[in-house]
Every structure is written in C-alpha cells, then in structure tokens.
C-alpha cells in the first residue's frame, strides 16, 4: 500500500489539520515509512481471533440515570478563547 499526495491531502482534511501543498510529498513519504512498518502485521495468522475490546476483563459499571453534576457554566467557559453571553463563540456556521 503506497500513499500518494492526494491521499495525504485527504487524510489531512479528515484530521482537520491544514497542510500546505508543498509539504504533502514529504508527509506522504512519512506515512509510507510508518505504514511499511505496520504492514508486518499481515504476517500474523489472526484467523478466529476476536479483536480485543478491553484489556482487563471487567464489566463496565452502571449507575442510576440521574443528574450528578452541573450548574458550572462559568467554569466550563473559563478557558474558552472566545466566550460571549454564556456561550462558546465560533465563526459563522450557517450562511
């Protein structure tokens, strides 16, 4: 499997990371080196093996479906780059 610059651009887009056009060939190269390393996994016979879900066999705990937290709008917003009138502010989303 070889990654070309178009695929690298697509991955960058999916990851929401801006990569300049000029940097795409080097990025594709790095991907190919890493994926080449990962491709060793194809040597392993995994027939009939279940993919691991949890490393320790434990049942996730359940609790009552009730509100246990809240009323801390100020704290939630305190680190926002742009917070206005009790909300996170972002560039216009709808035209």
């Amino acid at each position: 499997m070889s990654i070309d610059t178009a695929t690298a651009a697509k991955v960058a887009k999916l990851a929401r990371i801006r990569v300049e056009e000029d940097d795409l060939p080097a990025l594709a190269n790095e991907f190919n080196t890493i994926l080449g390393f990962i491709d060793q996994l194809n040597e392993v016979d995994v027939e009939g093996v279940e993919p691991m879900v949890s490393v320790t066999p434990m049942r996730l705990k359940r609790r009552e479906d009730v509100v246990t937290d809240g009323d801390q709008q100020d704290k939630v917003l305190s680190n926002a780059p742009d917070a206005r009138e009790g909300f996170f502010a972002v560039p216009k989303v709808v035209e």
């Binding site: 990654i3 990851a15 990371i17 080196t33 060793q40 996994l41 490393v55």
Partner: protein, 495 residues
Amino acid sequence: MMTDLNAMTIADARNNLRAGEITSEELTEACLTAIDGAGALGAFVHHTPEIAREQAKAADARLQAGDAPSMCGIPLGIKDLFCTKGVPSQAASGILKGFKPEYESTVSQNLFDAGAVMLGKLNMDEFAMGSSNETSVYGNAVNPWRRGNDEMALTPGGSSGGSASAVSADLCLGATGTDTGGSIRQPAAFTGITGIKPTYGRCSRWGIVAFASSLDQAGPMTKSVRDAAIMLEAMCSHDPKDSTSADIPVPDFEAMLTGDIRGKKIGIPKEYHMDGMPEEIETHWTQGKDMLADAGAEIVDISLPHTKYALPAYYVIAPAEASSNLARYDGVRYGHRAKLAQGDGITEMYEKTRAEGFGAEVQRRVMIGTYVLSAGFYDAYYNRARKVRALIKKDFEDVFDAGIDAILTPATPSAAFELGRKSDDPVEMYLNDVFTVTVNLAGLPGIAVPTGLNRNGLPLGLQLIGRPWEEGDLLNTAYALEAAAGFVAKPGKWW
C-alpha cells in the same frame, strides 16, 4: 552528617519528618533551591512555589498532630499531563497554551490528600508522544547524566523526560509519570531511577490528558523501589469518574517488600534477544538473571511468540485512539485558536488551529490514526491490530498459567542517546519502546530498576513484568534485584 534534604528518599524523609528531625518546610525549600539552580535541565516548566510552601505548612501541621500518611510533607514534581487546578496544564503542547483546569486529576488529588507537596509541573513529550522529550513545546528536557567528561547533552528519555531528569538530579523526592508504551520505564532506565507502570485500571485516568485511553496508566518515578511502593499506593484508588478504574482494594505495597524471592519463577523470554542489540545490554541482562538466581529464584526460559508484532500493533492502536482523543482540540473550548483571515469559516478555524497548535509528531500520529480508522482501512489495520493485541496478551497469560511469577527483560535497547540524534526518523525512535510496549498492550504491571552503569558511565536498567494486579509481588522481586545490584551512582553535578 545528614544528606542534602532534597537528595533524600521518600522513605528516609518520611521517617525524619515523623521523628521531628526535619520539617516539610525545610525539605520543600531545599527542593525549591535545587530547582532554581537547575534551569539547564529543562525539567520544571511551571513553578508553583506558593502552592508548595502552603502545602508544606499544612503538612507540618498534620505531622505535628500525629496524622501523617507516608506521603505527608513529601515534595513532588507533577508531569504536565496531569490537570492541576488553577495551574497551567498543557501536556507540553502549544494547543493548550494558557489552559488552567478548573479541576484536579484524581491521582494528584490522592497525593495531595495524603499530604504531598507540589513543586511544579514537569516537562514531557507533547501529549506524551515521544521517547526523547524532544517534541515538547517547552524545549528539551536534558539528562543530568553525561558520558564521563563529555559535555554532549543526552536525552532523559520520554515521554516522562522532565520527571526522570528532576528525580535523578534530586530536584524533588519523587515525580508522577504516565506510561502508554514505555514512557515511565524508558526514561527511568535512562536516568538511573525506578519507575513502575501499574496494571491497567490501578490508577484513575480522570484528569490526565488522554493520549491512548486503552493503554495510558499513571505511575510513580522515584529513587528506590521502596519509594515506588509508597508513592504508588498513594496514587491508586477506585474512581467512579474513570469507568476502567478497578474496584479492588489497594494493598499496602511497602509491607510486601521482604526481599525474599526464594522459589519464585522468573521467565527469560527468548524473543527479547533482538538482532543488533548492543553487547552491553545483553551482558547486563545476563547479570540481572544471575542476581535473581543468587537470591534463590528459579530462572526459566520462556517464549512470547508475538513479541515482534507488538510495536507495529501499538503504532496502529495508539495513533487511532489519539486521533479520536485529540479531536477535542479544535479552538472552541480551551487553549489556542488561530487568528482567522477574512471569510474564514469554522472548518478553516479547526484546520488552522490544529496546524498551529500541534507539533509535527502529534500531527503525524493524529493523521496516521485518522488513516487507519478511515473507511476501507478499518478492518485491514485497526481490527487486525486489535486481534494481534489479543494474541500478545495471550502469550503472557500462557506463561503465567505455566507458573511464571515475573519476567525479566532489558528496559531499553541502549543507554541514553544524544539529543537530536534520532529525531528525524520516526520509526527508529519508535524502536526505543521495543521491550516496554508489550506490557501496555497486555495491561500488565512493569517496573524499571537501575542495575548498573555502561562503559561510558551511563545508567542501565532492567525491566520486570508481573501478573495483573500483583504489583506487590512485582515490587518485592524488584526490591530483591535492587538489593543485589546495589546501584548507588549519582550523576555528577554540572548544571
């Protein structure tokens, strides 16, 4: 004469504090002075002397009142990955610049509840992604150890490089670390200190910036195995805020340190004899084996057949989880937001913010993770890696079922290397974790113990791997190894 206060072990300091020979305020001042003189190590990146002095005072009051848990009054460094209330917590990333959490991580809260003192935050690789502390937005942390009189700066390892450097240079008595693929054990080995990653689920992950949630665990980095036992116990707890936190009692680990390992079966996995491994690592491993045998353990050759595939599986699973975890850094709720150009919409905001805020290695791993999870590749990469992970775990289960109590391996494939030497080849850097990463994939406890010096005078460590939830027994085996090795060397002070 008493050793310099900041050079004390946690156990010695505790005994002296309880006996009223010293105060936490004196101990804390000694550490703050040591930190002020150690800027060249790049270990502490946020200093919190006011908090430290206040906590030390409170600890002294508790000691006076006779209410003093083991960690009471002990000055620590906290890895920047832990959220600490009101104190910058950036995971060494530009994207979290200015972030001051409104809450405290469970592990640091547990330590503070036990009376520990926070000196400041410690350097690390960005989002814990790295093995040399060279991906940090704060710049490199530097190893206090040098090759004899050679002034070449060496890496303290990573990702917990600042923690390792600080403990090794006696800037604090102990430090918190986290370990996703070897990030406690590799830097501990590179700096001549002890570091343990407990069983997955022992320490709550709540409030620790997430890298790869199925692999991440916190643990202590200390000057001795006894200190590791004391500090680990204080860090562990069941925490309803982390659904993978284990609801089982935390034993008194220190009480389990008898040093008696007679009759214990120690496995030596043949697959850890790697091609091209330096002679000194091989020799050092053999010496460790002899030490445990002399202490009465039985040495057994074992096989962990899927070892070779651990790193490739890790480099699918960890980036996949990272790409998902790091999706939250989008410039909306906290940290950095890029300056936008006229007409930029929300997508440009995300893309520019993440390009500016994440360093090269983090971007690389997020994108690799995005790729292996993308439509058409999910089965070929991600599901296959999870199947291989199941096989790696089964390798360990098989040897433990056959009666093995612990496994002895080298901690790292080399001693500490020069800063800058490996930073341009990602795969070569990844090989640093070849002996440690299997332990994360299998969720097991693993400990690095300093056991000797190489021919250049740099520390080397060995790793012991234990059965799940049996940290106490593992620490005891490590205690016996530590006693046999008698490692007491310290780096010569040049900083």
